[in-house]
Structure formats: C-alpha cells, structure tokens
C-alpha cells in the first residue's frame, strides 16, 4: 500500500458529503522559529469521525489550534463554509468544540456547573437557556449528578467527560479532541470510547491510542514533521507496517 498524500485524497473523499473542515496548504511557525506545520491539507466531511495520529511533535495539537483560530498560520482554513476571519471567529468558535489534552486546562472554573456554563454564557445566551444546556450537556456525558461538584474533586476520567460537556453545551458541531484517552485507566478509557461512539458529531481526534483508532474511526490521518503523510481508510493504514514504523506508530496487539 503506497503512502497517500493529502492532495490526492481530497478529490476521492469529497464526492458524497459536503466538507465541514477544509484545510489547504497550511503553514505555521511558532515565534521561537519552530516550523510546526509545513503545508497541511485535509478535509473532514460532515458527520465524519477522523483519527489524527503521528509521533510527538508531529504538529497535531498545532493543527487543532488552527481549527478555531487560536493560532493563525499561512494557508486556508474554512469551517462550515466560513473562512477564519475576525468576523467569523465567534461563530466558528461556537461550531468547533476544542477539548484540550489536559482537563485541568479546560476546567478552569471552581465548579462543574460554572465550567459547562462558561461557553453558552459567553456566547450571550440568556440564563434560562444556559441552565438548560448545562443540564443537557452533562446528561449526554453521564455526569448529571456532578453539576455542583468542585472540579478538583473529580477523577481524571470524570474530568474528561466534563471537559467534553463544556463544548457540547455550546452546541458544537465539530469536536476537536486532543489525546482524549491519554492518562485514563482501562475502565475510564472504555467508557470514553463508548461516549465518543454515541455522540453524533463530526470529530477530529488526535491520539496515540491505536486500539481506539481501530475501534472507533473509519478514517485515519497520519502526520509527521508538520505534514500529512497518509490519509485514508483506517484498516488500510493500520495494515501498512512500513508506514507505521516509519512514523513511530505501533499497534500493540
């Protein structure tokens, strides 16, 4: 199986459903000079769940930060047909739910309720609506009883669930999850996988958890050195031993 490059893939994938995430030739350099993205192109269709894999430093997190304009590199990023301009930012930030790798970064409020309410509140929704959304979001992730709890009293698995609820409450259409299963014990990991399977949203999920990739995602994108080095069918990519080895990925069976 030859390595497929993003440019050749775009046309193949785009036939059926409209792309909701559209990244073309994206370059980004951190202020210290590190070239983190070196010409990334990819598309994600509406409702698609895509895994983003690659070694540490490949640029996965940097790419995710571009999806709602937290970083802005050179190239083109469009979300739901909107380009990332200043006027569109609030809208796009409502559409793309970013869940950061460390839930302690995501959960910055004292209580679970405050954190899940933060997004809708800052979108300017009235309090009644905010309350309703918090309830719904917590119900979705199975944390309805936790609303009044203090974030620092939660287990890491519970924190991850609440972190996802903080973007569900914004009615996000696209979930961008950065290494969601990292640091979870087997049971918490299992229940997270169940949750991600149930959520009917478009997802781009960066991960090192190849077992989860195989179980959950039909499509996988491999990044290395700030570029997309492969993009396609998960089964095909996971079967390509040479590709996996070349990019430091291991499927432990």
């Amino acid at each position: 199986m030859p390595i497929q490059h993003a440019e050749t893939i775009i046309d193949n994938l785009n036939g059926s459903r409209p792309a909701t995430v559209h990244v073309a030739n994206l370059h980004f350099r951190y202020p210290d000079g590190t070239l983190a993205l070196n010409g990334v192109s990819l598309q994600v269709a509406h409702g698609e769940k895509v895994a983003l894999v690659g070694p540490n430093g490949a640029g996965k997190s940097t790419l995710m930060l571009h999806l709602n304009g937290l970083l802005q590199g050179e190239g083109n990023v469009e979300v739901g047909g909107l380009s990332l301009t200043k006027e569109h930012l609030p809208l796009i930030r409502g559409k793309v739910g970013m869940v950061f790798q460390n839930p302690d970064d995501q959960l910055f409020s004292p209580t679970v309720f405050d954190d899940v309410a933060f997004g809708p509140l800052h979108m300017g929704l009235p309090e009644e609506e905010v309350r309703k959304r918090v309830q719904n979001a917590l119900a979705h992730v199975g944390m309805s009883d936790a609303a009044s709890r203090l974030s620092h009293h939660l287990s890491i698995g519970q924190k991850k669930r609440v972190a996802i609820a903080t973007v569900l409450s914004m009615d996000a259409e696209i979930l961008a999850l950065d290494e969601p299963s990292a640091g979870l014990d087997p049971r918490a990991r299992r229940s997270l996988i169940g949750l991600l399977r149930e959520l009917p949203l478009t997802m781009l999920v960066s991960t090192h958890d190849m077992m989860m990739v195989r179980e959950l995602f039909a499509r996988t994108i491999v990044m290395d050195g700030g570029r997309v080095v492969a993009d396609g069918d998960t089964a095909t990519i996971l079967a390509d031993q040479a590709l996996l080895e070349a990019h430091g990925l291991e499927l432990m069976v």
Binding site: M98, D104, D105, F108, P110, A117, L121, H122
Partner: protein, 265 residues
Amino acid sequence: MSTGSTFDRYQHGDSAIHRLDPRVKVVITLLFIVSNVILPDGAWPAFAAAWGVLILASALARLAPAFLLRRSFLALPFALAAVTVLFTQPGQPLWSLRLPGSTLAISDAGLVRFASILARSWLSVQMAILLTATTQFPDLMHALRHLRVPGVIVAIIGFMYRYLFVLADEAGRLLRARAARSAGTARGSGGGRLVWRARVAGAMVGQLFVRSFERSERVYNAMVARGYRGHLLTMSPHVITQRDRLALALALIVLAFIQVAGHSL
C-alpha cells in the same frame, strides 16, 4: 485527589447556617469583625458575649465543639505582632526589665490593650473560619461578585483557588522526584546534603513558575476557545429569602447589644 482536602476549609453539612445566603453570611462576618474592632479596650463582657455568639453559631452549624478553637490557633502568631503595645502604653508599670542603657516596662494599660487586641483578632479569625467552613468557595465568590467586589479580583481569587490544587499536585510530583533521586547520595545524612537540597529546591521553584506560566497560556486558550473576549460573565444562582433577612436582622440586633454593652459597662 491527593491534595483535595489540604486547602479545603469547607465542612459539608446541611444546617441552617450552611443554607443561609452566602451574601448574608459575608455581610454578617464583616459586621462582626468591625464590631470587634470598635469595641473599647478591656470591654471583657462584650468580648465574652461575642464569643458566646460564635459558640452558638458554630453549634447551629453542627461543627464539632472545638473546631473553631483548633483552627483559630493558626492565626495567633500573627497577633504577636502586637506585643510592642505591652511596652509602649503609658501607665502603672507591672514588671520591668533592666537592659544596658534603657528599661523595658510592661504597664497595666499596655497589658489590657494587648489582651484586647488578642481577643479582637482571635474572635474575628474564628468568625472567618466559621464562614469558610459553612460556605462553599464558589458561593463565596458569587457573594463577593454580588457585593460589588470588582470582577477581575473575584476572577483572580477563583483561578487561585482552582489552580492551587493543580499546583500543589505538581509540586508534590517534583518533590517525589527529588526524594527518589536523593536516596543515598550523601553518606549518613539521608536525603542529600543541604546545599544540594537547597539547589534542587531553587530549581523546583523555577520549574513550577515556568509550568504555571505555560499553563496560564493554555488556560487562556481554553477560555478564548469557549468565547471569552475579555469579560468574565457569571450567573446569579442565589436568592435572598425571608430567612436570610431574618438572620441579618438578628445579627444586627445582637451586634448592637454587644456594642452597647462594650461601651457602657
């Protein structure tokens, strides 16, 4: 969480005091402290009455009898800053210490003043402990917000509270890493030589600072990603009830009595 209870002063409960509106509790606490401050020196019956109020409130909150007392000793060292009044008040000398060149004398007025300062701060600290023991921290913050404390200050306190736990965990990890590496470095003195330990401690503080700084950037990102544009918004989940108004009125009456007693007896 390992550090979950290290800083938590809140004692879970469902007493009448727990259920009071946090704004009312904050106001009563402040009034109680002000009342202590303006009681004249040596107004012992009034101080005793204030203590009685505290004991009653702590019983109403179903705290263990010695709870306030035990925690209040934490603050006593700070009251020692007032020892100088022992020597600086004019009055009958009770006891004197001859030093080369001068004499240190404790006067009766100085003693009364010192004991009064001690009583004031000790009562006030106990009241503050009662407040934090019966009010969840987030509720306290909401109360401050509604009492017109500037939003930025409340937000900073909130972040401090939230990340104190994270920071403590991080410090704990660094300490464990040091302990793991310091076993058997120096002959005899387990845990490494003092200089080495000091150097490691210095490096650790630096580490913590850098990590906190990086974290602040990530947290800011997380806030911006969820629509933060420079103004923190909060909701107002508290409603003042008839009971809250009653409690406030009762507190005012009791404090007025204490003041009258303090100034006339």
